[in-house]
């Protein structure tokens, strides 16, 4: 349903089957479907973990942790059943990639779940799809049912003697549930409140059993690594940042869309060549490189390679791949306010620094943007954000604090321009770019 785009610089790995009708199981089999899981059955658990480790695949949900390493933390012997949980609760503002994966290639996710299960010795996997994505949940339900009919799931998969079940699960609207421990709480039928760590889910997860939680894009990448080999995958990106990534270009660009580009692709090129540049002859002001929780980059900071380590060096994060582009007519204070409104709405209220911090920041920003700002507010907001960092169970507090600090640090002048009852200097200049 969502439109597909393409660009010659794209390297299609995860998006290889997009638009080719791979939701149909027969079509998926024609396109090398379920070959990876059969290969994995002969590789042994350690063989799979090592292959994924060597591929340099890092979590596509935002944190960028090595997937192979995460799998290796699961104890070999466990008294409780082990689980694989696919995180399809995509809700980071700016991110819309998992939607395309479920829409066009649901079997790749199922295959990834099974391979992860083989790697850690689990017998059950869950695919959690956010509640708003009802049409995608229906696609996933059908894909799972089809796979059962052919004996790809259930008892004795592919005649290997190994049993593996995959089940679907639907959410009901919560950003916070995208955090792994909150995701488990939600799947257990509770409020999505994060759990304290340690113990990490790899040791104590769903119903107390060791659990591997991976993003849908991460799991959809796994079958390609098993088939193409770790070396091939690792070489697609710079060292320690293997493979490709689905980048969701949005905001003020001529050709927004989801593009699969190699890790380490230059951000300026991504905006001006792949995305076609800024519409209406305007100049670039800033870029949010990886979803709303990543610190903003100024227009002179975008000559960087889009991989986890290079973006981290600039003080920002590659995050979930949502590249939001802001042109010169955008009011940073208003943008910061909208971001904070979101975090205040989504904070689950469990940890005080996040619950109270997001609320105070939102209130201050509302007053600030409407002309009631005081000079000391600017430093107060920075100080408040600083004190939220690292003081919450889950990273939602950090996700609200980090971008706010970057907005203030990098665009302090714009905050000062709102002082002394002055109206927002951008209010008239901002015209919506309606397609």
């Amino acid at each position: 349903m969502a439109d597909l785009v393409s660009h010659p610089d794209e390297v299609k790995v995860v998006s290889r089957r997009f638009g080719l009708g791979a939701t149909n199981l027969d079509r998926y089999l024609e396109l090398d479907g379920y070959k990876a899981v059969q290969k994995a059955l002969g590789m042994g658990a350690d063989g799979i973990v090592n292959e994924v480790k060597n591929s340099g695949l890092r979590g596509r949900g935002g944190a960028g942790f090595s997937t192979g390493l995460k799998w290796s933390f699961v104890p070999k012997q466990a008294s409780k059943p082990k689980y694989i949980l696919c995180n399809g609760d995509e809700s980071e503002p700016g991110t819309c990639k998992d939607r395309l994966i479920f829409e066009h290639d649901p079997h790749a996710v199922i295959e990834g779940v099974v391979i992860a299960g083989l790697a850690v010795g689990a017998r059950t996997g869950y695919i959690y799809v956010r509640g708003e994505y009802r049409y995608l949940l229906e696609i996933v339900q059908k894909a799972i049912a089809d796979a059962y009919t052919r004996g790809f799931l259930g008892k004795n998969i592919f005649g290997s003697g190994y049993d593996f079940d995959v089940y679907w699960h639907g959410g009901a609207g919560a950003y916070e549930v995208g955090e792994e421990s909150a995701l488990m709480e939600s799947l257990e039928g509770k409020r999505g409140i994060p759990r304290i760590k340690p113990p990490f889910p790899a040791v104590v997860g769903l119903w107390g059993g060791p659990t591997v939680i991976n993003n849908a894009e991460t799991l959809a990448s796994v079958p390609h690594i098993i088939l193409g080999g770790a070396e091939w995958y690792a070489k697609l990106g710079p060292p320690k940042n293997g493979g490709t990534r689905l980048f969701c270009l949005s905001g003020h660009v001529k050709r927004p869309g989801v593009y699969e580009l190699p890790m380490g692709y230059n951000l300026r090129k991504m905006i001006f060549e792949v995305g076609g540049g800024i519409p209406n002859g305007r100049a670039l002001k800033a870029v949010v490189p990886g979803g709303s929780s990543t610190p903003v980059l100024k227009s002179d900071e975008i000559d960087i390679a889009m991989d986890f380590d290079s973006v981290a060096k600039t003080g920002s994060m590659l995050g979930s791949g949502g590249v939001v582009v802001l042109d010169e007519t955008t009011c940073i204070v208003k943008f910061a306010l909208r971001t904070m409104k979101f975090y205040q709405h989504e904070s689950c209220g469990w940890c005080i620094p996040c619950r109270e911090g997001t609320d105070w920041l939102k209130k201050t920003l509302i007053r600030f943007h409407s002309g009631g700002g005081m000079k000391k507010d600017i430093d107060n907001m920075y100080y408040l954000s600083e004190n939220m960092l690292g003081r919450t169970f889950c990273p939602l507090g950090d996700a609200a604090a980090m971008p706010t600090m970057a907005f203030i640090k990098k665009f302090r002048q714009e905050f000062e321009d709102h002082l002394d009852g002055k109206p927002c200097p951008f209010e008239k200049a901002t015209e919506p770019v309606l397609a």
């Binding site: 349903m1 819309c96 799947l187």
Partner: protein, 176 residues
């Protein structure tokens, strides 16, 4: 005393009027119970499917689901209040959800919301007098690259302008 007595008898009536869900709901519910080691795990998706059929999570629906999952109604309400898609109040037949989060805001999401408010004559979380439409300003729905995006119930409408939005609303009005 009177209040207590009427509540006491009313609670029997509620149990007698066991909620009726569709066959499809019942089949899905029975299947889901086999997916998890605990009954409670089916709660969140079950609530959303029940809401789809009943329109909202009424006291009867909550009682019924609590009974089936061996939970108290309070435990169920506790979960309902956390999830933004679940509602315990009746609302319009078509829930118009306009995203104004960052990517949509940059491409006119707020203007779209304002347009819908004017056209429908209602604000955030309000319902039109004929019960046909209700309006909601929502957080990111995953339409960022096709912004501004709107969801009407579960259907996505993307790359919208105010004119396109009018056509979308006309279609839903005609459907009725």
């Amino acid at each position: 005393m009177w209040a207590f007595t009427s509540w006491y008898f009313a609670s029997f009536v509620v149990k007698d009027l066991a909620m009726k869900f569709s066959e499809q709901f019942e089949a899905r519910f029975a299947e889901m119970l086999t997916h998890y080691p605990t009954k409670r795990s089916v709660l969140v998706p079950t609530l959303l499917y029940a809401q789809d059929e009943a329109g909202y999570l009424s006291d009867e629906v909550i009682e019924e689901i609590a009974r089936r999952l061996e939970l108290t109604a309070l435990e169920v309400r506790n979960v309902i209040s956390y999830y933004s898609m679940l509602t315990t109040k009746p609302r319009g037949k078509y829930n118009v959800q306009v995203c104004t989060n960052i990517a949509c805001m940059l491409r006119g999401g707020e203007e779209l919301l304002e347009h819908c408010e004017k056209r429908l004559g209602i604000g955030h979380k309000e319902t039109t007098p004929d019960g046909l439409f209700c309006l909601e300003e929502v957080e990111c729905i995953g339409g960022c690259s096709w912004a501004p995006a709107v969801q009407v119930n579960y259907d996505f409408h993307e790359n919208l302008t105010t004119e396109k939005m009018d056509r979308v609303l006309d279609e839903y009005a005609k459907k009725n």
